[in-house]
Every structure is written in C-alpha cells, then in structure tokens.
Symmetry: none
DNA sequence: ACTCATAAAGTCATCAGATGACTTTATGAG
DNA sequence: CTCATAAAGTCATCTGATGACTTTATGAGT
C-alpha cells in the first residue's frame, strides 16, 4: 500500500491548472500568466510547468502561441473525450459491451441482407474454434466476428463505441492474462447468425445473451478469487 | 495559410513515439529506451522527450516508474479518446442510448434496493409531465431520470458513456430544436420503475423499449422530412 | 498628426548540465 | 545459499542560457 502519487509535481500542476480553468479563473481566449509566473505560483520549475501545460494542450483545454503566450481554449469538459479506462472494471466493460452486442444483433436481424449473413458465416468459419493455444489471440479473432455484427447494424455510434471497448478489453486481457475465461461457445455464435437470418430480433437478442453469460460468470470468479 | 506545425518538436516527438507504439515496436509491459537514448534517437533534448512522454502517459499509452524506466501500457488506440459526435446521426445516438437504457434497466432490476426504487419514483415525480413549454428543457429533465436508472445499475462504464451521450444528444436537440419529438409517455416511465421493483429483467427490458419506440419513430419522420 | 519601417520587450521553444530520489542489479560476508 | 549493502541505472526536478516568434514602443519621414 502506498500513496496515490509518491512523486509527481507535474501531474499536480496539471490538476491545479485544470481546476482553475474549470473554475473559470480565466475566460475562453484569455491569456494565462507566463511560464515564469506560473512556475512561481505553483512553486515548481519552468520545465515542470511546460510539461503540465503540454498535457492540457493535448487535452484541448489550452493553446500555446510561441512568442505570444498560453491561452484558454475551453473552460468546460463538456466536449471532454471519453476515456474511463482505469476506472471501469473489466466486468463493467463487458456488461456495457453486451448492451451493444444485444442491440446491434437486434438491429442487424431487422436490417440484414443475404450478403450480410453470408459474410458473418464466413467470418465465423475463419475464426474457428479454440485450439488451446494463444488465448489472447483467439479472443481478438472472436472480437472481430462480433465487431462485424455491430458493423452490419449500420449504426456508426455503436461501431465507434465498440471499437473503443474492443481495444480496451483486448489490452486488459493481454495484460492480465486471464487464464480462466471460457471458450466462447461455437454453437452459440452460430445461433446468433441463424437468428439474424430469420430476422427475428428477439431470437437474436436471446442468442447473444446465451453466449455472454458464461463469460460474465467467469469474470465474477476471477474478481472473487 | 501556413504549415500545420511551424515549430513544435515535442508534438513531432509524441507522434513519432506513438507511431512506434502502435506499430508494436515494443510489447505491452516492455520498457522503452531511457530518456537520454530517446533524446538521441529523436534528435531532441531530454526536456522535449519528457514533454512528449508525459503527453503519452496522460493518454494512457505509457507509464513511467521513477528509478526504473518508461513502460508501454497499451499498444492500441484503447486510450484514444472517443469523440464521434458529428459523424453519428441523432438516430444512431438514440439507438446506442437505447442499448444502454435496456441493459441498465435489466441490471438495476436485479441489483435494486428499496431505496433505489424510492429514489427513482421521486425523480420521476419531479420530472413531471410535459406542459407544452420548453421542450429542450423537458427532455433534459427526462434524461436526468434515465441517467438515474443507469447510475442505479452501478456500472461505471455505462454511466460514463451515458453522460457522453446525454451531453451530445442535448447539444444536438438544442441546436436543431426538434419540434416534433413526442412527449415521452409518463405511464411508460412508471412502468419502467414498476418493472425494476418486481426484479424481473425481462419486464424492465420491455418497458424501456416501449418508451423508446415512439421517439425513434419520430426521429425517422424528421429525417425523412 | 499620421504612416510605417525598425527597435525593443515579452514570451514560448529548446537545449545543456547538474542534483535528488527511487529502483534494480551486483557484490560479498556470513 | 541467504541477505544486507553497495553500486549502477533511470526518472524527477531544478537552474540557467539561447533561439524564434509576436507584440508593443519608437521615431523618422511625410
């Protein structure tokens, strides 16, 4: 057990400045004190101030103009990009993914074309079954199939969010080497495609839930252990 | 008209390093060359390397450990901020929102407590019915109720995504002042709370869908007109 | 007075060197 | 072979200096 930040003046500086920005200390377009002044105000060196400012620039809060100064670009995090990452657990991420999987399957069932179904069958065959080898790689291939279902729904918002989750989940699995996540059942996957082919959204819905259940249960075991 | 970046070595360094990370030059968990080496490789000073590294740390790609080194945390765009916004249509956003609404209602039904149900009833009463006045304001209050359902699910990932959508949707509505979006039905909302109280996820699921249907239909009419 | 080229001042961009703090590895006594 | 200790490696931070660019002040010429 240790303090959240044992040493990190620059991050403290980032939060101090961000806090002042959100607190409307300076209006949009207004100029911040120069680096030397900020350095004095925060009691850190100019280099540290520069690191902090550059982070805030990369996050869209500030803008620097060489020879002129540093200016506020946004005083709210309304347009703040979604990150979550470390705050949401893997289980939460899977649950959210399930929400998208289910709805996308329903939409795809309604909007499907024969070509769509054929493409999904092709991807499922390519994915194959788990052969006991590289698990992370298999899960990645599995994600590709599900991503195709989402893509077939034609909903751009869901596609983007799914990409967001896929990458995050793949990384988490790769990093924590989850040994005991069960093989996503091949038959359950085929059922999803079949259900989509029938055009019945409720069947598609049920098929997706049937597949995700064991995975969530496995995650719960991992969390408890 | 001028060059995209007249002077900015640090940003160039960020992109150079990010590119190598995405190109899998180093695996997740692997250590990067030290600051002096990166400085030499990129032909920039150590200070500039530090600014670049700190940006990548703030974006979740890297992690620094004092006394040890700088390590790769993600080799994909996992931490890439999700933005979408202008590329997804309002209808797509509502569909994605529905996916979250449904799943959250299911989870809340299973995980609910009497206090949760009481709080939801209170919020619903506060929300009231549409009186023909400020529509955008009413929709905002309506969103607050649904947000409470999501919050009650306890799923942080969904909460964050929902916030993301709420802001986006509220912005879109405010900007396009949708005149013909129907009043979300009060009875349908009450049904959602009732279903959650029974603890039956399927009932909760159906109740949410019943409420969203007319809204989506109205959006389709707007798009066609 | 007014215009406008030029100088001066202000500020960010970048570099170089040094010190401290922390982690990892090598060493050697027991 | 174990384990305390020393040594080496690396990030964290500070200080000082120079270059590049922008803004403001200056003043000659009209």
């Amino acid at each position: 057990m240790r303090a959240i930040s044992r040493t990190n003046l620059a991050d403290d500086a980032v939060e101090a400045i961000r806090s002042d920005i959100l607190g409307k200390r300076w209006a949009v377009g207004e100029k911040l004190p120069n680096e030397a002044a900020l350095s004095a105000m925060l009691s850190v060196s100019r280099g540290t101030v520069r690191e902090a400012v550059r982070v805030l620039v990369s996050q869209g809060y500030l803008e620097t103009r060489q020879g002129s100064g540093t200016y506020v670009r946004a005083t709210s995090d309304a347009g703040r990009p979604l990150t979550m990452a470390r705050r949401a657990s893997l289980r939460d991420q899977f649950e959210a993914r399930l929400a998208l999987d289910v709805e996308a399957a329903r939409l795809t069932a309604v909007r499907k074309s024969p070509e769509t179904v054929a493409e999904l069958r092709r991807l499922l065959a390519e994915r194959g079954s788990y052969d006991g080898g590289d698990q992370a790689g298999f899960i990645e291939r599995d994600l590709a199939f599900h991503k195709a279902v989402i893509a077939a729904s034609g909903n751009r918002a869901m596609i983007e969010i799914y990409d967001f989750f896929s990458a995050s989940i793949a990384d988490t699995i790769a990093a924590t080497l989850g040994k005991d996540i069960p093989e996503p059942d091949m038959q359950a996957h085929a059922d999803i495609v079949d259900a989509i082919e029938t055009g019945d959204p409720d069947r598609a819905d049920a098929a997706v839930r049937r597949f995700m259940g064991p995975v969530l249960a496995a995650l719960d075991r991992m969390i408890l252990s």
